[in-house]
């Protein structure tokens, strides 16, 4: 088992190290580069807490080897910081703050990066697309409601209108007489 030299651009900065081929990208980011926003939750490709962007596309970094990211570009939540150096300036993180899209916060970096990837692929999101697009990210606090609202806000949508439209569409798909609720009544 020989070490392999990797060069990975992380958040626009070139990083390099000699790594064991079995080193996971999540560990490379946390231990070798020292960026701790990326969390390892389930370590089984299920929970999405370790989601980062690899060449602009969302991936679960617990199921990518560092050597597979050699010569590619990775973006972690730290990389969303603009010139101010504050990652809360980014539209996605700002939306999570505005809508209180987190409870304990453990899933948040993965949620934020999954939303960033989703919007990059499809800027015109509705609530269903957000929920389906986040199916690979689990929030054990079950705080999905505000996370979905944050994703809608980040995509430039009015979350109340988007959720009302989805409730109507959902009601039309389900059995007649079954109430899907309305945004006015929900959570009051």
């Amino acid at each position: 088992m020989t070490g392999v030299k990797v060069e990975i651009t992380v958040n626009g900065r070139s990083t390099t190290d000699e790594v064991e081929p079995r080193l996971l990208l999540a560990h490379y980011l946390r231990e070798n580069v020292g960026l701790k926003a990326t969390n390892i939750g389930c370590d089984t490709t299920s929970c999405g807490a370790c989601t980062v962007l690899l060449d602009g596309e969302s991936v679960k970094s617990c199921t990518v080897l560092a050597v597979q990211a050699d010569q590619l570009a990775v973006t972690t939540m730290e990389g969303l910081a603009g010139e101010s150096g504050d990652s809360l300036d980014h539209p996605v993180t700002a939306a999570f703050r505005q809508e209180h899209g987190l409870q304990c916060g453990f899933c948040t970096p993965g949620m934020v990066m999954a939303v960033a990837g989703l919007i990059a692929e499809n800027p015109d999101l509705d609530e269903r697309a957000v929920r389906e697009g986040l199916e690979g990210n689990l929030c054990r606090c079950t705080g999905y409601h505000n996370i979905v609202r944050a994703a809608l806000v980040a995509a430039g949508k009015d979350p109340d209108a988007a959720q009302a439209a989805e409730a109507e569409s959902d009601a039309a798909r389900t059995a007649p007489g079954f109430s899907a609720g309305s945004s006015e009544g929900a959570g009051a």
Binding site: R22, T45, G48, V59, K60, T63, V64, L65, A114, G136
Partner: protein, 271 residues
């Protein structure tokens, strides 16, 4: 979870990958997206000595019309299948099935060739390729050969692929406007199918109803004889030996197969 240590090679061409696999076949494993392989390596159910990474070979990532068929490079990712205009027009079943695999992050990495080679009977794409009457094209230093999907899976996680062979292409007929549907039953988003049924052009593929993906032959024969959808679907579990696990008993799965087959046939008939 950390895999057992291994050597890593990323050849820069398919020819180089084939040569390397020939040299180290028994101890080497091909990795494309790694989304079937890495999880089993992390559980230490697999411990290859050498990983041959073909994930960046652009020559294996394509979808193109070739005569009566569509040829799909083995390295084409689930996400690429989802958004392929060629498949949307020529083989609409495949993008619909690919869309149900895992989640967006998984679909950005996993490939059709990897899914077929892994041979998990609970996977979506193998049963779809089986229902399509597809062909799997394998390459080794001895040359290239084509294996019909009906003969490719030989047991759980076992295929007709030799250790020095790798899947280079999947070929499926252009089904065009023929009716199709994919009915996948799960309890939670993101789960593997408890049972799923792929229908296209009167053929029926079953997910997770045995040790390999299966065709519902009795259903297909009944349809060919002009039986009704309800009559044909009632035969969907004939001859199957579905597994028992926490998601359900064999009887439960057989019932699901009949119900999902009826739904899929009805949807396909309306398309």
């Amino acid at each position: 979870m950390i895999p057992v240590g291994f050597d890593y090679a990323r050849p820069d061409s398919l020819d180089a990958a084939v040569a390397l696999l020939a040299e180290r076949g028994d101890e080497a494993t091909i990795m494309a997206g790694g989304h079937s392989l890495l999880p089993v390596m992390k559980l230490r159910l697999a411990a290859p000595e050498l990983i041959v990474d073909i994930g960046r070979l652009r020559e294996l990532n394509y979808v193109k019309v070739d005569g009566d068929e569509v040829a799909i490079g083995a390295g084409t990712r689930h996400h690429d299948l989802e958004v392929s205009d060629v498949l949307a027009a020529e083989v609409p079943l495949l993008p619909a099935v690919a869309r149900t695999v895992g989640d967006p992050q998984v679909r950005h990495r996993g490939t059709i060739g990897g899914s077929l080679a892994h041979g998990d009977p609970a996977s979506d794409l193998p049963a779809a390729v089986l229902a399509l009457d597809g062909t799997i094209v394998l390459r080794s230093p001895r040359g290239q050969r084509s294996v019909p999907a009906t003969e490719f899976w030989t047991g759980v996680f076992t295929t007709a692929k030799e250790p020095d062979e790798l899947i280079v292409e999947i070929r499926v007929p252009r089904t065009g406007s023929a009716g199709w549907a994919y009915e996948k039953f799960t309890r939670r988003a993101n789960d593997w199918a408890i049972v799923a049924v792929a229908v296209v052009d009167g053929r029926v593929g079953l997910v997770n109803m045995g040790s390999t993906p299966l065709r519902a032959s009795a259903t297909e024969a009944a349809l060919a004889e002009g039986k009704s959808i309800a009559e044909a679907a009632a035969l969907a579990a004939e001859g199957t030996e579905p597994p028992t696990d926490t998601a359900g008993t064999p009887e439960y799965r057989k019932n699901l197969a009949r119900v999902l087959t009826r739904r899929a046939l009805e949807t396909a008939a309306g398309r």
